[in-house]
Amino acid sequence: MNTKLVAAAALVLFLGAPASAHRLDEYLQATIISVEKDHVQAFMRLIPGVAASSVVIASIDSNGDGVISEAEQRAYAERVLGDLLLTVDGNSLRPKLVSVNFPETQEMKEGLGEIRIEFTVDLVSGGPERRIVFENHHQNEISVYLANCLVPRDPNIRILAQNRNERQSFYQLDYTQAGSSSEPASLKGWSAIRGWVGAVGFASIFRLGMRHIAEGTDHLLFLLALLLPAPLLALGSRWAGFAGVRHSLFQILRVVTAFTVGHSITLALAALGLVRVPSRPIEVLIAVSILVSATHAIRPLFPGREAAIAAFFGLIHGSAFATTLGELGLSRWERVASILGFNLGIETMQLIVVAATLPSLVLLSHMRSYWGLRIGVALFAGCASVGWIVERLLNVHCSVDVIVDGVAHHAVWIAGVLFLISLVCWWLPNVLDKQATTEQLSPPTLKRI
């Protein structure tokens, strides 16, 4: 990301835009919170600097047509809200979008545009002393934050303390609310249930986990590359044909479980502060893990030991997940709860990815021509990983992210088309050489469908 900014800044200087007039390479995100009797209202102003604007605009203009449509505005606002963590008395609550207001794209390019987002959060009644924690993780690497609250209009509400981390991405507001227990008993019981649901929901941290996998293309590529040869049987130094449905399912289950166990261990250790790992080498190792699994998909490097490898690299990926969680600045108990929520989010997204690709893999791996897909995807993953290794080691920019994100952007379509193709191939066994599986593979341990 930093290299992108430097490049953008250089471009700006090159184009001769005045360097002295406006915000440059930061994304200013200013939030003002207003505490009311039964809800919290918040106003966000998001101002991308000149050099940061291209990155921000690209992430808003998701179809890349140069126009920021109303749908894209809303989607972006929802994405920003998804990157917030808001807890009231320890219960994480989902912010509701009230309004979103976008400047002209040109204004944003000049570092003048101000995106305004307003949201609310309903408050269930609680004790007299209350705590709101507001965390902003949106575009963490390029952003500077401001967080404040308004003097409450309600005379029953009195602010006790405001605490922030140094960069204000973490903001904690303590206040008292007089007359808060004057509710009728029937309502009280109901709100207690609602509070409990909110507490066990981990909704936002769960979503953070899901998004981490969905948008962390490097984690996805690693998993996909590892799954590619799962339905196949290794014969010496090459991959032979289909090894049977039960073998495939069992193999995929083993790989995914092992990966999960691995990353859960390091995630827990690192998130609890028991181990500390520098993020740069981890990022490099993650890229290496993709290269290894992509190579393995082409030629078996460690046949039969995929699970062990998945577990080992899981340890590395888990350390990276922990960095995300570590930025949240949670207390120890909150962390235990959030590890669970975060991990469940990661698992869910992984299962979705497996569920989306597994049928196609199993169906297609019957055919000899499966090698084309296998080698193709493996080469793509391999090239991307080499690109990442170079980027992360030398801190240079070779637009790997742009290409991979471009492909990942159409992941749902690709998976859908792949599934359709695999269905067609399965229904028309005469078109392609389905019988090859039995001819080539004689070992008695193999099971037919």
């Binding site: 005045p18 360097a19 007039a21 930061e26 003048l112 101000e114 308004l150 003097v151 140094e166």
Partner: protein, 343 residues
């Protein structure tokens, strides 16, 4: 052109001086002086110019039409000095100076001159320059009914509400880049006092007070900058009720750098109000606690009371935060004189 401009402004300064001594002699009130300067200015304009710079008193959009940005980025309405001929321009500046104290008008001139220095530094970049300042009037200049005089451009936004004998300067933005420059061999720091007096206050605090005043987090910019009218945030830092008399005196003197921009009688009324609020006034500091003599602080600070928000925010842009600063002066209960003009 530049030499001519400089001469004009200096001439206007002299004119303002003469005006003020004349008015003192004739015991004219500040408001009648401003109204007559406004009418004189309006009479020098042609119909088209006049229509372009007069707005309805309650035009909320025009009220909030100000910014720290250069005018090419955030276009101001009204008429710019650039569009005026020499006579019109000097009448415009007489009007502005009639509404300000001598010290206040000098500050304004230095901010504008600084933008001229910036223009030269940026290779004669046409987005800067001391003639890119806009003047506008909301309502009809009157000694009885409220009206607003606006004057501003890059790093400057004066919103002066005149309501009878009362004058209100909030909200007003001042800024400077370069925040230190030389003009005719003299070093000029348009907002130097704002830096020096705040630094003196910080140094006058004892260890315990400093602990409360210095915030643990960074502030990248103004919290209540342009567009944030009417908001009162929860105050933080050190409350002046925990200061001694000497410290409070420094604090009030610091506040006068903004409160004293408006003409003397309005400034005196404003200072009396702020003095009455003093024990409810807070001082908060964020950033480096050192500064070499003759340079500007690189820290953010905020002064907040029941009728006051002052923010001083050094800007990273340009490389050296001591050379680029934005400040904001507000009374959230009295933006554009609302407290005086709404019944």
């Amino acid at each position: 052109m530049n030499v001519f401009l400089m001469k004009t402004i200096r001439g206007v300064g002299a004119l303002a001086l003469i005006c003020s001594s004349v008015t003192a002699a004739t015991a004219q009130t500040a408001t009648s002086r401003i109204v007559s300067a406004a009418n004189t200015f309006l009479s020098t304009l042609n119909e088209k110019q006049r229509q372009g710079m007069v707005f309805a008193f309650d035009d909320e959009k025009q009220r909030a039409n100000w910014s720290n940005f250069p005018t090419s980025f955030v276009p101001r309405a009204g008429v710019s000095l650039k569009e005026l001929n020499a006579a019109q321009r000097s009448a415009a500046l007489v009007l502005v100076s009639s509404a300000l104290s001598r010290r206040g008008f000098e500050k304004v001139e230095q901010i504008m001159e600084g933008d001229e220095v910036n223009k030269v530094k940026e290779g004669n970049n046409p987005i800067f320059g001391k003639d890119l300042y806009f003047i506008s009037i909301l309502g009809k200049p009157s000694e009885k009914d409220p009206w607003i005089l606006q004057f501003g451009g890059h790093h400057l936004a004066l919103n002066i509400t005149i309501a009878g004998e009362r004058g209100v300067l909030t909200p007003t933005l001042t800024g400077a880049q370069p925040a230190i420059y030389t003009s005719n061999g003299k070093t000029v720091r348009p907002l130097g006092q704002e830096s020096d007096k705040a630094f003196a206050l910080l140094n006058a605090l004892d260890e315990n007070q400093r602990k409360q005043a210095i915030l643990s987090y960074r502030l990248a910019d103004l919290v209540l900058g342009p567009g944030q009218d009417g908001k009162t945030i929860q105050p933080e830092g050190l409350k002046a009720s925990a200061m001694n008399d000497r410290q409070r005196a420094i604090l009030l003197d610091l506040v006068s750098e903004w409160a004293g921009i408006i003409h003397e009688s309005a400034a005196a009324a404003r200072m009396a109000e702020l003095k009455a609020d003093i024990t409810e006034t807070w001082f908060a500091w964020s950033g480096p606690t050192t500064a070499a003599s003759g340079t500007n602080i690189t820290a953010y600070y905020r002064i907040q009371g029941p009728h006051l928000v002052i923010e001083y925010a050094p800007q990273r842009l340009g490389g050296d935060p001591s050379m680029h600063v934005h400040t904001m002066y507000r009374d959230p209960t009295n933006d554009y004189g609302r407290r005086l003009t709404t019944k």
